[in-house]
């Protein structure tokens, strides 16, 4: 089957990279994948989101209207995408930047204080990666090793330290559910 994932947050929170890591990982594991950004004049500080589809089937639409998974990094994202989630789907919320609880009861909800955890991992900017770690824990979209490899490549130009911090953040996220 294919998983449809929407990741959403403020511009600058790294939601596009979140998605790209997933898609790059899928590529590595020879899965079908598509990454699709919501593009627009929204670069101007507004919100950003992207859709990632991963699975073993040919991918039809790059646009998801009923995702299996939503990762909401801030309140507007929660407001917008919670209703879209498929029945039984997974909602992962960055508690640090949301002000209310989700409303639905037909989905699985995970809230993590991702910013705090990222700070603990030593890289405040890795909030997204914390959430990614947790997502991978919940649903084995990809092997964690694959994702770590991808992270090493994607952050290569920013140096070893950043890579290490992000991998730590990934682990932190992974372990956050325990």
């Amino acid at each position: 089957m294919n998983y449809e994932i929407i990741v959403s947050g403020f511009g600058g929170q790294g939601v596009l990279i979140f998605g790209e890591i997933l898609s790059q990982g899928a590529l590595k594991e020879n899965k079908h994948t598509v990454w699709f950004p919501a593009y627009g004049p929204e670069q101007r500080g507004g919100t950003a989101n992207c859709t990632i589809i991963i699975g073993d089937e040919e991918i039809a639409s790059p646009i998801s209207i009923d995702p299996d998974i939503v990762v909401a990094l801030n309140q507007p994202s929660l407001d917008k995408f919670e209703p879209w989630l498929k029945k039984g789907g997974l909602l992962i919320i960055n508690k640090t930047l949301t002000t209310r609880k989700p409303l639905r009861d037909d989905i699985k909800i995970i809230e993590i204080d991702a910013l705090t955890l990222a700070r603990e991992a030593g890289e405040e900017r890795a909030t997204n990666i914390v959430l990614l770690g947790r997502l991978l824990k919940e649903i084995p979209l990809l092997s964690v090793d694959t994702v770590k490899e991808v992270i090493s490549v994607i952050f290569a130009h920013r140096g070893e330290k950043v890579i290490a911090a992000n991998i730590k953040a990934l682990n932190t996220g992974w372990n956050s559910g325990d």
Binding site: E20, S23, L27, W35, G40, P41, E58
Partner: protein, 355 residues
């Protein structure tokens, strides 16, 4: 074959063009295709190519004209309003028999519209948005891999027929990343010779390139020669994908982004044992009339799906004639129908057929 890489459609166009031997790019920014010129501006200097941001789309298409006249493999990319500005140039390029590749990453119209994905420039690209009797080859890819292959192929076709080729894609395919395998880098010394190119008339007759002929009798002949070429292209360069049509009683016709979405609709309906098939035109001009016409006896009805208010549907009607109904489902203004939307529409049409 190289390895698979994940890349955006609009960047894949650029890389594929370079691999096809394109070393000249002239363009003007417009969303949603800015990553193409941006990629070119980074990459071309690395391969001794030239990237130049033109002062406008009009300048861009005329720079393309110049470069092509000088024998270069050359490309420009744009989006809807920019493509409209190129219409005089497109008509000239065909009249001058100059090869080049132009991508139009279509967005919502008319006018300024928006930057969301659309297919509402189909008429403009296939029937001739410019003046005069002219045709350009038009491709409508539906995956980034196909975009890569058609881009590469377009340069060869353009040279083969000395005619512009248009890649008609949209913001959805342009902005998405998918894994693709790029063709090998074409060796420049394997590119076709162009004895007609303007390189300085040293030790040869002068070359004149123009689309100008005051005498109507001669211009008529020039036109018939062009028409012969178009006829030849129509016979040799039709491309389409046929999916589950063998026993189909209802056939969807859709291209590009909607082509792939419709395919999943077909899959879903087949699981419900509804005998639906898909024709996905890949060359929009020449349009695959033949394959559609052949299906007429077997099929109860056709449905065309477009991200527009209905344009390609006319070509399908021309292919089908009036023996079968041709339904239409379209969404203009930047909306992308979902597989579920299409499925519902198919079911509606099927029940209309029954009643």
């Amino acid at each position: 074959m190289g390895e698979k890489v994940l890349i955006k459609g609009v960047e894949a166009i650029a890389e594929s063009a370079i691999r096809a031997g394109c070393r000249m790019f002239f363009g003007y920014p417009i969303t949603p295709q800015n990553e193409t010129p941006e990629y070119m501006s980074r990459r071309l200097p690395q391969v001794e190519g030239i990237f130049l941001q033109a002062e406008s789309e009009i300048a861009a298409i005329n720079m393309v004209m110049g470069a092509s006249a000088a024998g270069a493999r050359v490309m420009t990319t744009t989006s809807s309003p920019g493509f409209s500005l190129m219409m005089e140039g497109m008509s000239y390029l065909v009249g001058m028999e100059l090869p080049c590749v132009v991508a139009n990453v279509v967005r919502g119209g008319p006018g300024l519209g928006n930057i969301a994905p659309a297919q509402s420039d189909y008429f403009q690209a296939t029937k001739g948005g410019g003046h005069g009797d002219y045709k350009t080859i038009v491709f409508g890819p539906s995956t980034v891999q196909e975009l890569v292959e058609l881009t590469y192929h377009s340069f060869d076709l353009a040279d083969k027929y000395r005619n512009p080729v248009v890649l008609l894609t949209d913001g959805a395919l342009g902005q998405m990343m998918e894994p693709v395998i790029f063709p090998e880098m074409r060796k420049l010394n394997t590119l076709p010779e162009k004895p007609w190119a303007l390189t300085g008339a040293l030790n040869r007759e002068k070359n004149i390139i123009m689309s100008f002929e005051m005498d109507p009798k001669i211009l008529e002949n020039i036109n018939w020669e062009l028409q012969k070429k178009f006829q030849k292209i129509s016979e040799d360069e039709v491309k389409y994908e046929e999916y589950a049509t063998d026993d189909a009683e209802f056939v969807i016709v859709a291209y590009g982004t909607i082509g792939r979405i419709a395919k999943s609709t077909v899959k879903a309906l087949r699981e419900e044992n509804i005998p639906v098939g898909l024709i996905r035109p890949i060359s929009l001009w020449p349009f695959p009339y033949g394959v559609i016409t052949q299906l007429v006896p077997q099929v109860e009805a056709f449905m065309v799906v477009e991200m527009s208010a209905g344009q390609m549907v006319e070509d399908v009607r021309l292919a089908v004639g009036d023996r079968r109904p041709v339904f239409f489902y379209g969404r203009p203004g930047g909306m992308v129908p979902s597989p579920r939307d299409i499925t519902e529409k198919v079911k509606q049409c099927l029940s209309m057929l029954l009643s």
